[in-house]
């Protein structure tokens, strides 16, 4: 399939004569030589759609280096996550996407893309020495990462870039003042939150996501302490109303409504981050990516006082929910091969090390986490990298891999928000589960 495209292009190149010849000649020349060559697709322009964030910043920063290395020019469009997700879905559905390469969240979009068959399969390229350089260290990519990038029938259609574990950010100064030790279990965490909560001084014991949709992942983090996920079996079945799920929802309700700030039902990560960076919250559970702003002197008042801890274990389990992002090429992309090269560069070890250095995220690779050259130039504390390494062995998916995942988050998230308003955990979780069940059944059946 892949070869035939190359050959057809080569034939077209011959037919077109001088016009496109320079580029296509190099293709045919290296197709015979059999070695990987970064310059193989030089002269092409790849349109990339990136979600706002450190990855996009790095890509922009180093695009010149990539151009020198490969001769491939990048056109980078950066838009915020929510809008990017909608744009990607609509453009891929139209069959004529304006981009050749894009980044996306496995936990939100993977299943939808897989079912619709929108992505270019790259299984063969990964095995082809002409298309896979040794320096990529494909073997170093973690199992979880490759499983994210592989469809349920074993085809690779993406490459993983980064994962986000959930970890505990805590304010060491507040902990020391009250003589509280960092909690190892969920019970200890509840006690710590109670001890640290001091509304008269404007200090909350705990802060985290309370707002509909976003809050679901904080709850699934707590749920991992009861040793379960949100769906199970084949065909997938919802288990968000089991006694364990209700117990974890009860815990969520008590932790946030008793020891959280007023108005936490409207808090997303940015409100939580704001409060924590002002030194007004003792503990905050969220994804690994927030170390950079928290340690930024121009934005944060808690620089140097922040501790990073592995999430506490629960009565029945211990987990750190994990979210992965990757890159993929649309099936109908205009410059598939050049886009693939760009993807190799972005997801390769060199860029992974750079992302780690700025605290932009944890790569799905182990080498950069152990590389002293990378670790010595970290712009965030070493403790953060150690904590991430501690989360890796207990990592588990934080959201079900289903098509209507946004609706899942909205429905379950509404129930969780209602809990913060005083609703009963059992009633709400059962109602939400019943409400979402037909949606899931329908999507899995189709």
């Amino acid at each position: 399939m892949v070869r035939s495209i190359t050959r057809r292009r080569a034939l077209q190149g011959v037919a077109l004569g001088g016009l496109a010849a320079p580029m296509l000649n190099t293709v045919t020349a290296y197709a015979q030589s059999g070695a990987f060559n970064w310059q193989r697709f030089k002269g092409q322009t790849v349109e990339v759609l990136m979600e706002t964030g450190p990855r996009a910043d790095l890509m922009k920063k180093y695009q010149k280096e990539f151009l020198d290395q490969t001769g491939i020019k990048l056109g980078i469009e950066v838009i915020p996550e929510q809008q990017a997700r909608q744009k990607v879905a609509i453009e891929l559905n139209s069959g004529k996407p304006s981009f050749d390469l894009f980044n996306f969240a496995f936990h939100v979009q993977k299943r939808q893309f897989e079912k619709a068959g929108w992505l270019l399969e790259i299984t063969d390229w990964l095995k082809d020495p002409q298309m896979m350089p040794a320096e990529y260290e494909l073997g170093d990519v973690s199992k979880l990462g490759m499983s994210f990038a592989t469809t349920s029938d074993g085809k690779v259609n993406a490459l993983p870039i980064l994962c986000d574990y959930f970890m505990v950010y805590y304010n060491k100064e507040l902990f020391a003042k009250k003589g509280v030790a960092f909690p190892k279990t969920l019970d200890e965490m509840m006690a710590a939150a109670a001890a640290l909560n001091d509304p008269s001084a404007g200090i909350s014991g705990f802060v985290g996501r309370g707002v509909r949709n976003a809050n679901v992942v904080l709850w699934t983090q707590l749920l991992s302490g009861w040793g379960q996920e949100t769906v199970t079996g084949k065909p997938l079945r919802l288990i968000t109303d089991t006694p364990d799920a209700i117990a974890s929802a009860e815990y969520y309700k008590k932790l946030l409504s008793s020891y959280g700030p007023a108005g936490i039902a409207g808090f997303n990560w940015n409100e939580a981050q704001g409060l924590f960076m002002q030194g007004k919250a003792a503990m905050w559970i969220d994804a690994t990516g927030f170390a950079a702003p928290v340690e930024d002197k121009t934005k944060s008042r808690v620089v140097g006082k922040v501790g990073y801890g592995v999430p506490p274990s629960g009565p029945k389990g211990h987990g750190s929910v994990t979210f992965g992002t990757g890159m993929a090429i649309p099936k109908n992309a205009a410059h598939k091969e050049a886009a693939y090269y760009t993807m190799l560069w972005m997801t390769g070890p060199k860029m992974a090390g750079r992302m780690l250095q700025v605290g932009g995220g944890i790569p799905f690779r182990t080498a950069p986490l152990k590389d002293p050259a990378v670790l010595s130039t970290l712009t965030v504390p070493r403790e953060w990298a150690d904590c991430a390494a501690g989360c890796a062995p207990i990592s588990m998916p934080g959201l079900p891999v289903i098509v209507p995942v946004t609706e899942f988050r909205d429905v379950i998230g509404t129930a969780l928000t209602n809990l913060l308003g005083g609703a009963d955990a059992a009633t709400e979780m059962k109602r939400a589960t019943a409400e979402f069940k037909p949606v899931l059944d329908k999507s899995e059946a189709s």
């Binding site: 879905a89 609509i90 707002v211 108005g263 039902a265 409207g266 409100e271 909205d410 308003g421």
Partner: protein, 302 residues
């Protein structure tokens, strides 16, 4: 004779048609454009609403099932309730305040031009930018509004962060944003009023209130109705401020129809359901507009 009349009439009609025929061609551009941008999308929306249509999978014709599902959908029905609640407040309060401020700015005083300009500034600002600033001000710990409350000794409010206060808080933004709009329309109306009735009333010894209630109010009523119609349609269609400030939350407590519609179409990719919501929403707006237009007829000067 009668027969001859008919022939003549038919003859002139035929002649008229012949005369018009070359000009009939000129209808086509307008007809094609309006079909392409108005009529076709509408028919297509109705067609989509009759399908089970999820982006990424095949569409299936399901008749009226989308509508049947909506009729029992708790979230949809609640969003209608929120829309009505929101619309009533977001129309009534700017109407009253806008009329009062128009009366104030109709009087002559020093610096009137300056204050008028200042007053209509909010209307000129971009709703999204305004909403972002209000979001910051609403923050329960770091926002400036709770600081103001603490200055006058009031307890802090949770504003848009609590299901109970979210809609009234959003109304605050709407009032700030749209009172000037009502004021401008009413001010225009006041400027066009004749002065004779007031002179006559003064001679008869009428009080200020009597003059307002018996002269100003009935004369300015048609303008008020215009403002009312425009404000109502705007309030029904509200989207940016809610989307930016509360995103329909906490939970679904400020989810109006437009926000629900957006979630269905662009977050869940349920094009079929979203189209059905559009059709219902359109029916509601048309019905309400008819009522308001009828009110406008009633309010006309006799």
């Amino acid at each position: 004779m009668a027969g001859a009349d008919v022939t003549i009439a038919a003859g002139t009609r035929a002649a008229g048609e012949r005369r018009l025929r070359p000009y009939l061609l000129f209808i086509w551009p307008a007809l094609i454009v309006s079909s392409a941008v108005i009529i076709f999308p509408w028919i297509f929306t109705i067609w989509m609403s009759l399908n089970d249509w999820h982006i990424g999978s095949k569409q299936v014709f399901i008749g009226l099932d989308n509508y049947v599902a909506l009729a029992t959908n708790r979230r949809f029905l609640e969003s209608i309730g929120h829309t009505i609640y929101f619309t009533i407040l977001a129309v009534a309060l700017p109407m009253v305040l806008g009329t009062i401020s128009a009366l104030v700015f109709h009087k002559k005083f020093r610096g009137r031009g300056f204050f008028r300009t200042l007053f209509i500034m909010p209307m000129m600002a971009t709703p999204v930018a305004v909403s972002l600033i209000w979001t910051m001000m609403f923050h329960p710990q770091l926002g400036v509004l709770n600081y103001f409350l603490s200055l006058v000794g009031l307890p802090p409010s949770e504003w848009v962060y609590s299901p109970n206060t979210v809609i009234p808080s959003l109304i605050l933004v709407e009032i700030w944003l749209w009172t000037p709009f009502v004021m401008i329309i009413v001010l225009g109306g006041l400027a066009s009023l004749p002065t004779e009735p007031y002179e006559a009333a003064l001679i008869d010894g009428a009080s200020q209130w009597q003059m307002f209630w018996k002269i100003t109010y009935p004369l300015v009523l048609p303008f008020l109705v215009v403002a009312l119609i425009m404000r109502t349609i705007d309030a029904l269609k509200v989207f940016e401020t809610i989307w930016v400030i509360s995103n329909g939350g906490p939970g679904t407590s400020s989810e109006v129809l437009n926000v629900y519609l957006y979630a269905q179409a662009f977050a869940y990719n349920q094009v079929g359901t979203a189209s059905a919501v559009v059709v219902v929403f359109f029916a509601i707006i048309v019905a309400l507009s008819l009522v308001l237009l009828w009110a406008r007829q009633k309010a006309k000067w006799n």
